[in-house]
Subunit: 397 residues, 2 copies
């Protein structure tokens, strides 16, 4: 059958609620998804204005105005690829559903993409709460496929930390940093979302079939391309705009100077999302992209999940106290106390008069300070004079 009729779409489970977009509109969006390669900035405003049913009708009748005639020819050349029932059946077999603008689980954040927003999304997982709820507090964690052991460790740890604090970890399902990010979130029972460049029913990379199944079960798989669609370079790059848009901020864990993760960071900046980068050894080419982002003040430096939530979180809800070393025993001393203390040798006792001379303080003053420091357990009196009572780490230089 053709798209645009009033036959109910897919299974009941594919719907998030009665307030969602009508079936005819959904079916028209499925058909348009076969006609265009995302993004479709010439079509999105038309769909918003006329509805997908009308846009599809005008396209079939070759009276669609807005896109260039060359674009319209290209769309029309692919009209016969559209088979709404087949796509819905493929999705149903994979446990996937269509989510369209107007649905209650459509993430409002996607509107920031304006005409670059997806026409619709295919979603596996989060059937109970819905996609919008899953990404309401979300951070993208992305990075190199050929990551180092260091990068994998940091990606997993940082993702586990933000997930443990209730934040969703969004990534791309790829080898390396992406996989470590998903696994880190899953390891603490957190929510993770994989945004794919292929159909949500396609295991790409093949070796990630178990990981992607696990994400579909405990988290969410999302894609804007129809079921069964494979990856292309262009789809990876356009997928990155969804990673960026679906998150409050993007964390780049490891990236070469030139990398796809940095393109996601660029997309995040365009969308006024936070961009963060994890430093690493300056000797590692896989940290060079991260360092360049920070050096050029395009990204904030983050070292762990707390740093990330300090930046993307809500003040007071997600922030943590300032990072500082615990005070040492000598931190309570004033500078003149310290001069007296420092005038004592590391080992052995000296008379108060000698301490007074060395510290340039009058003897009665020095005796008062020695007494207070003795009460604090820092110095002690002996029959040969005063000496240090506790071994303290010396902090020079």
């Amino acid at each position: 059958m053709t798209a645009g009729t009033s036959r109910p779409a897919g299974t009941g489970a594919a719907r998030a609620g009665s307030a969602d977009a009508p079936d005819v509109e959904r079916r028209a969006l499925v058909a348009l998804g076969r006609v265009v390669e995302p993004p479709a900035p010439a079509l999105v405003p038309l769909v918003d204005a006329l509805g997908a049913v009308e846009v599809l009708e005008r396209l079939r009748a070759d009276r669609l105005e807005g896109p260039t005639s060359r674009q319209v020819s290209a769309y029309r050349a692919r009209l016969d690829l559209a088979d709404v029932d087949r796509d819905l059946a493929m999705a149903a077999r994979a446990g996937a559903r269509l989510v369209v603008p107007g649905d209650r689980e459509w993430p409002p954040a996607l509107h920031d993409l304006r005409a670059g927003r997806p026409l619709a999304l295919w979603v596996r997982g989060a059937a109970g709460t819905g996609l919008a709820a899953a990404v309401e507090h979300a951070v993208a964690v992305v990075g190199a496929r050929a990551a180092t052991a260091y990068g994998l460790h940091v990606a997993a740890t940082l993702s586990a930390q933000v997930a443990a604090r209730g934040w969703t970890v969004v990534s791309g399902g790829a080898f390396g940093i992406d996989a470590a990010a998903h696994r880190g979130a899953l390891s603490v029972g957190g929510t993770t979302v994989a945004v794919l460049a292929c159909g949500v029913d396609v295991a790409y990379p093949r070796a990630h079939e178990p990981l992607l199944s696990r994400v579909a079960q405990d988290g969410v798989l999302v894609s804007e391309v129809p079921p069964g669609t494979g990856v292309t370079r262009g789809r990876f790059l356009e997928r990155n705009r969804l990673l960026a848009a679906l998150s409050r901020g993007t964390v780049v864990v490891e990236a070469a100077l030139r990398s796809g993760a940095r393109s996601t960071a660029e997309r995040a900046r365009e969308l006024c999302r936070e961009v963060m980068a994890v430093p690493g050894p300056v000797t590692s080419p896989l940290s060079a992209g991260c360092h360049e982002e920070v050096r050029a003040r395009q990204a904030a430096l983050v070292t762990d999940g707390d740093d990330v939530l300090d930046i993307v979180g809500q003040l007071g809800v997600d922030s943590r106290p300032e990072r500082r070393a615990p005070p040492g025993p000598l931190d309570v001393l004033d500078p003149e106390d310290l001069r007296v203390y420092d005038a004592m040798p590391l080992h052995g006792a000296v008379p108060a008069g000698q301490l007074a001379r060395a510290s340039l303080l009058p003897v009665p003053d020095v005796l008062g300070r020695l007494g207070r420091m003795a009460v604090q357990g820092l110095v002690e009196a002996t029959d040969r004079g005063w000496r240090r009572a506790v071994p303290t780490a010396r902090r020079h230089g």
Copy 2:
């Protein structure tokens, strides 16, 4: 003999030229150096206003006004420690000379310390060019004593890089990062300055006697405390203000959250000098201080000597081109060329019509693009259609 007489001070070699401060003034400064523990903000303005000879006379006569009566008592209690001839003889034996404000080799940068500036400096090395010339273009490279192999490597490499470009590397002569910084500069025949918390004739740490001798020979040793003086915690901390003041900027290579290197960085900020930090693994506590400096936007992130000179150097003289990866063969293609290229499988040939359909472009357009890409050596025609001609690194994600 007492200080303040007109007898010529030290050896002729200790003087930078005839325009320098008069001998009586120099001798009075040597004596004051035994009376005060630096810094001496109560004395410096008096010396500037009255001259050291007059300040010393008033101190002896107990009619010095300005410092508190307690300070004056402490100074007077140490007057009998002053022995100018002994100090000058000790300096001469070590090959050291006294450099005082007004001398042509007094570094103008020290005036930024205002009343916190040293009364005088003891200097070993750079007898030909003088201290001021040695630090005219200088960067401080500082960090942890208990550095990691990574930190030592980076400190030496970065220091060699800035030294090779004609910049002087200033550090503190300590174990760890300091030593690596000095050695890195020396390794390329560059200039390095060690600013010590002890006398310039004292080998501290003991194991660094060979290194400090080498610095004295090929570079410069500097201290504000008299010959023979040992280290104290206070002297290390005050030494840090000299490290900061003598440099255009301070680079922290490795530092724990709490470290002396961060105190130098703080001094550099107070003096409106540049502060830079080298990132490292977020799993290393010895990089935590560096990361905190960058995270809190107190320091700029630097990864090598070029980054450092970009920040402290003169625009146009010391700057380098933007860091970017070299362009790949596909970078010359426009987005629609890329869509055609991406529509080709990694292996095997496909007809132009199929490429047109997949790339949403008209067949004549696709044929034109294929022809241009064939000229560029990116694709080739076969009897089964078009295929990719060169293996290209895929950059997805």
